[in-house]
Symmetry: C2
């Protein structure tokens, strides 16, 4: 993509209304713009990152055996009356009347709807186990939206729902998602700790929040220092016993949110206990028959008798993850994207747009990068080199390649790794080989 | 994907509440389920097709030089007061009050929002021309939703917006989209005719609807029989004059919606004039400075003077397209997907799930198809062959491969082309080569 034809409105100064670094940087890098309190438009650069995060989430859900569908944002109030949550849910649920005065709502979560869909379409034990998921825009009418996309009102979420014949099966589904979540976050360069957590308005007996440690996080969390070491995640999730053993091994190390602290385990951790703030990026729940029983869902069991399925639900804050990644990966100059979610792999800078030789060499290199399938943002604008460097550092692409007259005299370009600042002079071919990895 | 692990609830009988064939078949094939009046959940099979349609739309927008972003669904009423449309728009706009009693709405279209975003972030003539688009769920509170996804209340739409310095530029952007639309629909196996159309609540002077002819369509349309012949679409859209000539050549043949009939041109067409019903799948508008002037958007022109940009907007009904494709491509047994949008390329049927030899051969073929990157739905269930054939015909995958004991004796499988019903016996290797194309 040529920057001269892009829509990338960067800002030199930090906007006054942004308090945390990810919010500031997303505004400055032209990734988002607020359109109403807690509601954002995703400009092209932000949208590209959002889609990459979404795709990683999707791939790991698919790999865990979950099946994608898509439920609508607008739900009928009657559906929520079936579970009893319509009156129980707080004012963060946006209640709406349509033109026929029917009560609707902009869904904050989908337990009722997926239960109704599964109830009306699954008949027998052969239809279980299943995990269904979707990636969908949701709305929660936060009383005080803040921190940009971290606590906005309209946000993108992956929510999955599991249906099993018995508690053991439900536990296995829970464990599948447990590992899928760890894999998902790690692919984005994040280290997320699963913490025993409160179940809140979803309900149920077993719940983990996945927390990325960050001083700007809204949650107060407690964990054993063993969590600071990266764990191997190579377990066969189809092997029930092996997976349970794997999850037990992980959770043997203490980690809990403020609401679920355990004084005995904290005492046992001794000076290995750490306290921090963290950002919740995922939350998983096992809640048994809470919704299936309330909404009258049964399937025919192998013995012909009706069975009320066991359920769980599993959320990932897809748009919030972008904020979490930036909180975890930035420096004074701007964002430092992990390779897997970077909007482009390479930022190509022509130092002298007014120099025909430089322009020709940069055009040629751009064509070669595109031909090699390397996503490239090409700054071909007629601007000062200093401004171009500052923009590239701000938007944080993993690699920068600079084409300038001095380098061309020597037959080289300059390749810079954004994360380390390391610069090397290379031939065009070697630079392409290097960024291709 | 193994059908034994899928969520594909097919129905033998046509649902009573569906009037048109696409609605019936989408319900029967387990693609959608209604969750409230005119609101649908997209089950896994329907969701796969939706994503394929969306991706074709995206690729042709990108190819036309448009840049993707994403605006939120919830909009502030104040934004619509700036253009004067808040009070002008009818009751199909869903008006909402948030917890602080602020007036919001679930966006039916985005002219105001994109104008505000562009106004606040574009400064100079160098920022033009641009075409920005997004693919987003919208809501229109139809008084009488009907025909399934064809006239639902919550629907997926691609809407693009162009910004140009002058009328000539705006016309070029309009022509770019004109050709992009023809290419988009053709890739989906649809023949859509651009027809002079009314501008409705969007406003403006120049407008075309893209209409797929179908007896179940809601629009009455009139066109010259020349439109029944497929046109070549190979024009360089960056060449302003060539593109204008190309569009002029196409529109020399009469085609108009009911509101825009031209008696003189109809008389000139003589017995080449045809009347039909049609489905609107796209609608493009040029409306000059209607929104940019009302909302005070200017950029600095090359001479330093402020310029009010010329705008157009360009919509495609992404979810509606699925209905249009089915209306255009089905038979008595079910859907006949065009290859480009089929949810899977191959339906693999094991005729005898209880026969170890058949199961092993089908498993092996499934593994080979997956390894070859061919999207396959594998019916490995313990069901009668007849039921499996009926399901495969209903869901309309382009190819079916049948593994049965008699074929295995001869070392062959049966390959069926869904569209023609043609069946051939082939070795496994030849069958794979054939579906790979």
């Amino acid at each position: 993509m040529r920057l001269s034809r892009h829509f990338l409105p960067v800002m030199k100064e930090s906007p006054a209304d942004a308090q945390i670094v990810s919010h500031k940087l997303m505004l400055r890098a032209g990734m988002i713009r607020q359109t109403a309190a807690g509601i954002y438009a995703w400009l092209p650069l932000g949208h590209r990152v959002l889609r990459k995060i979404e795709q990683i989430v999707r791939e790991e859900q698919d790999r865990a055996g979950a099946i994608e569908l898509l439920m609508p944002t607008m739900q009928s109030a009657d559906l929520w009356r079936e579970s009893g949550r319509y009156d129980a849910y707080g004012p963060e649920m946006l209640r709406i009347k349509d033109r026929h005065d029917r009560e609707m709502l902009f869904g904050p979560t989908n337990e009722e709807m997926i239960t109704a869909i599964f109830r009306d379409n699954a008949r027998s034990y052969r239809d279980l186990p299943r995990i269904l998921y979707h990636i969908q825009w949701k709305f929660r009418d936060e009383v005080r939206p803040r921190f940009g996309v971290m606590r906005g009102r309209e946000f993108l979420m992956k929510d999955a729902y599991s249906f099993d014949l018995d508690i053991e099966g439900a536990r296995h589904s829970y464990n599948r998602m447990f590992v899928a979540y760890l894999r998902t976050f790690r692919r984005m360069g994040l280290s997320a700790i699963p913490m025993q957590a409160d179940t809140g308005p979803i309900g149920g007996d077993l719940s983990h929040e996945f927390i990325v440690l960050a001083p700007t996080g809204e949650s107060e969390v407690f964990y054993h220092t063993n969590w600071e070491v990266e764990r191997a995640l190579d377990v066969d999730v189809d092997d029930v016993a092996a997976l349970q053993g794997f999850v037990n091994g992980l959770t043997a190390d203490y980690a809990a949110t403020d609401e679920k602290r355990d004084p005995a385990r904290e005492a046992a951790a001794g000076d290995k206990l750490k306290q921090s703030r963290g950002i919740e990026v995922g939350h998983i729940f096992y809640f048994g028959t809470k919704y299936s029983a309330a909404m009258g869902m049964t399937v025919q069991g192998p013995d012909g008798q009706p069975v009320t399925p066991q359920m769980g639900s599993y959320g990932i804050g897809v748009s919030r993850l972008m904020g979490a990644i930036i909180e975890a990966s930035h420096d004074d100059a701007g964002i430092v994207w992990p390779d897997a979610v970077a909007p482009y792999t390479v930022g190509l800078i022509n130092m002298r747009a007014d120099d025909a030789r430089c322009a020709a060499a940069a055009d040629d290199l751009y064509a070669k990068l595109e031909a090699a399938g390397i996503e490239t943002l090409y700054d071909d604008r007629d601007e000062r080199g200093g401004a171009k460097f500052a923009t590239m550092d701000l938007i944080g692409l993993p690699w920068q390649i600079v084409v300038g007259p001095k380098g061309l005299d020597k037959g080289v370009v300059e390749l810079k790794r954004r994360a380390t600042g390391e610069k090397v002079e290379l031939s065009v071919e070697d630079a392409i080989a290097k960024v291709r990895g």
